[in-house]
């Protein structure tokens, strides 16, 4: 593999020309300017030289025996390893010189003979600087893409955290009364056995209640586990026919612990035929939007625009003109009109540092786009917000 030659911390320039006189003039000029100079007297030698050690810039004569300059340039530009080295063509004014072909071959510039010291100096310096800046920009872009990937990952982890803590709390409640019921049954049975006493009426009544508690608890847990299948199913990211009502219900079960004590959620969902969608991702959107609404209601209570315990979220869904309209309306703090057009921008957030990545709505928007739908927001500060999602009924 070729390596960049910085051994003397000077830029290196390769000059390829079959004319010894030209080589001599240019070499002297470039050495005076502080460049390290290598020479090649033919196209083949030029390519070999580049392969053995990558120069910072190449001055390339067009008319050489064997492979001509255009061909040398095209060869270099077709290789990932060499394509970033800037090539400046050399040409005599008297020669037949096709500028267009030179640029098409991948040259960045050309210098005409006889060489003028100043011109050669400026053109070489410009292109070396340009290449360095380009490399820096490429690096910056790569860094940014890496960071973006990390943030999207952390948003996913945050969503996962929300999901698991929700599920843990929802399951914990029935587990608590099942545990106590089982423990009570155990006590009663032990008493019966040790005292050798037949069950009386009171005990029969207790048993009835306790068994009913246990089966209710198990039913609750089953329902929660069932709603989780939407996420664990291997095809949750694939397009499949799914029931929107089920998607919304499962999101509400998972979010239950976050709103049940503060916010009333009303649902008004008409009969909707199965829609073609990625159920896991749609549920992620519903969770995200409800989570935003709960936060907005919390802020409204703090700001005093609504009373405590009057927080309300209304979810409606219906079909019109072969489209499914989903509206999620809250009576939270609302969004100021000056930032309403920014809320879908990646990384835009009004939450304090560490409370949000600013990617929630941006990810919602890209998921809805994948579904060929649209998402928009209507909000009045101090009154509340409605998020409007429109999905095509036939899906994608």
């Amino acid at each position: 593999m070729a390596t960049t030659d910085y051994s003397e911390n000077k830029y290196s320039v390769l000059i390829a020309d079959d004319n010894q006189n030209n080589l001599k003039v240019l070499s002297t000029m470039l050495e005076t300017l502080g460049y390290r100079v290598r020479v090649a007297t033919s196209g083949e030698l030029a390519i070999q030289s580049v392969k053995s050690m990558l120069p910072d810039l190449i001055l390339l004569d067009i008319h050489m025996p064997g492979i001509d300059g255009y061909e040398v340039c095209r060869t270099l530009k077709s290789s990932d390893e060499f394509k970033d080295v800037p090539v400046i063509f050399l040409s005599a004014l008297s020669e037949v010189f096709n500028k267009i072909e030179a640029f098409k071959a991948g040259g960045v510039d050309y210098i005409t003979k006889p060489f003028e010291f100043e011109e050669v100096s400026i053109r070489i310096e410009n292109h070396i600087k340009l290449k360095e800046k380009t490399l820096m920009l490429q690096q910056a872009l790569t860094d940014l893409q890496d960071k973006e990937g990390m943030l999207i990952q952390s948003e996913k982890m945050a969503a996962l955290g929300l999901l698991t803590s929700g599920v843990a709390h929802e399951i914990n409640n029935p587990v608590n009364f099942i545990t106590n019921s089982v423990s009570a049954l155990e006590d009663r049975i032990n008493t019966t056995v040790s005292e050798n006493r037949p069950p009386d009426e009171e005990m029969a009544e207790d048993f009835n209640k306790l068994f009913s508690n246990i089966s209710t608890g198990l039913m609750q847990i089953t329902k929660i586990v069932h709603s989780l299948r939407l996420y664990s199913r291997g095809d949750s990211d694939k397009m499949t026919n799914a029931d929107l009502k089920e998607i919304i219900n499962s999101a509400l079960i998972i979010m239950h612990h976050r709103f049940s004590h503060r916010v009333v959620i009303e649902q008004n969902i008409s009969t909707i035929p199965p829609i073609r969608c990625q159920p896991g991702k749609l549920s992620q959107i519903i969770i995200n939007l409800i989570s935003n609404s709960i936060d907005a209601i919390g802020e409204a209570i703090t700001a005093g625009t609504i009373e405590e315990d009057t927080g309300r979220i209304i979810i409606t869904a219906d079909v019109m003109d072969r489209q499914v309209n989903i509206n999620i309306t809250d009576n939270g703090i609302g969004i100021d009109s000056s930032i309403l057009n920014k809320v879908f921008d990646p990384f835009f957030t009004t939450k304090v540092v560490g409370r949000g990545t600013g990617l929630g709505l941006s990810i919602c928007q890209s998921i809805i786009s994948e579904h060929n739908g649209s998402i928009s927001i209507d909000s009045t500060p101090g009154k509340g917000t409605t998020v409007i999602i429109i999905l095509p009924l036939t899906g994608v």
Partner: protein, 124 residues
């Protein structure tokens, strides 16, 4: 046999109340309610030794309820019984003495009974 400790248990899930009542009927004098305002009234009527309350409830949180109870009778043993033991409000209540104990869900029966017995013995 000495008198059983009078325990008031508050939770917004009826099944929790029901299971608790049947489980401890023999060892404790159990009263339950789903309604925090009613709980305050019951404390006002007197004779409660121990209050065990859920944290997340619709009208007021368990910690808020305990603060009201303290104003009425400071001698009652105050226990928060919640699945949210990491909740900052609970942590704060434990540190400043609003709650004497914080018990995780599901309930550790022995820990609760030990706490109650200790409280009753100290009182006597």
């Amino acid at each position: 046999m000495e008198d059983k400790a009078v325990v008031l248990y508050i939770d917004d899930e009826n099944l929790n109340l029901c299971a608790f009542e049947i489980l401890f009927r023999k060892t404790l004098n159990v009263h339950t309610t789903i309604d925090t305002d009613e709980a305050v009234e019951m404390v006002r009527d007197g004779k409660i030794d121990v209050i065990i309350t859920d944290q997340m409830m619709p009208v007021m949180t368990g910690v808020e309820l305990l603060k009201k109870i303290i104003e009425i009778d400071n001698s009652i043993l105050r226990i928060i019984h919640s699945g949210y033991v990491d909740d900052p409000e609970i942590q704060q209540a434990y540190e400043d003495g609003t709650a004497h104990y914080v018990l995780d869900k599901p309930l550790d029966k022995r820990m609760m009974l030990t706490a109650i017995n200790e409280h009753i013995n100290n009182k006597e």
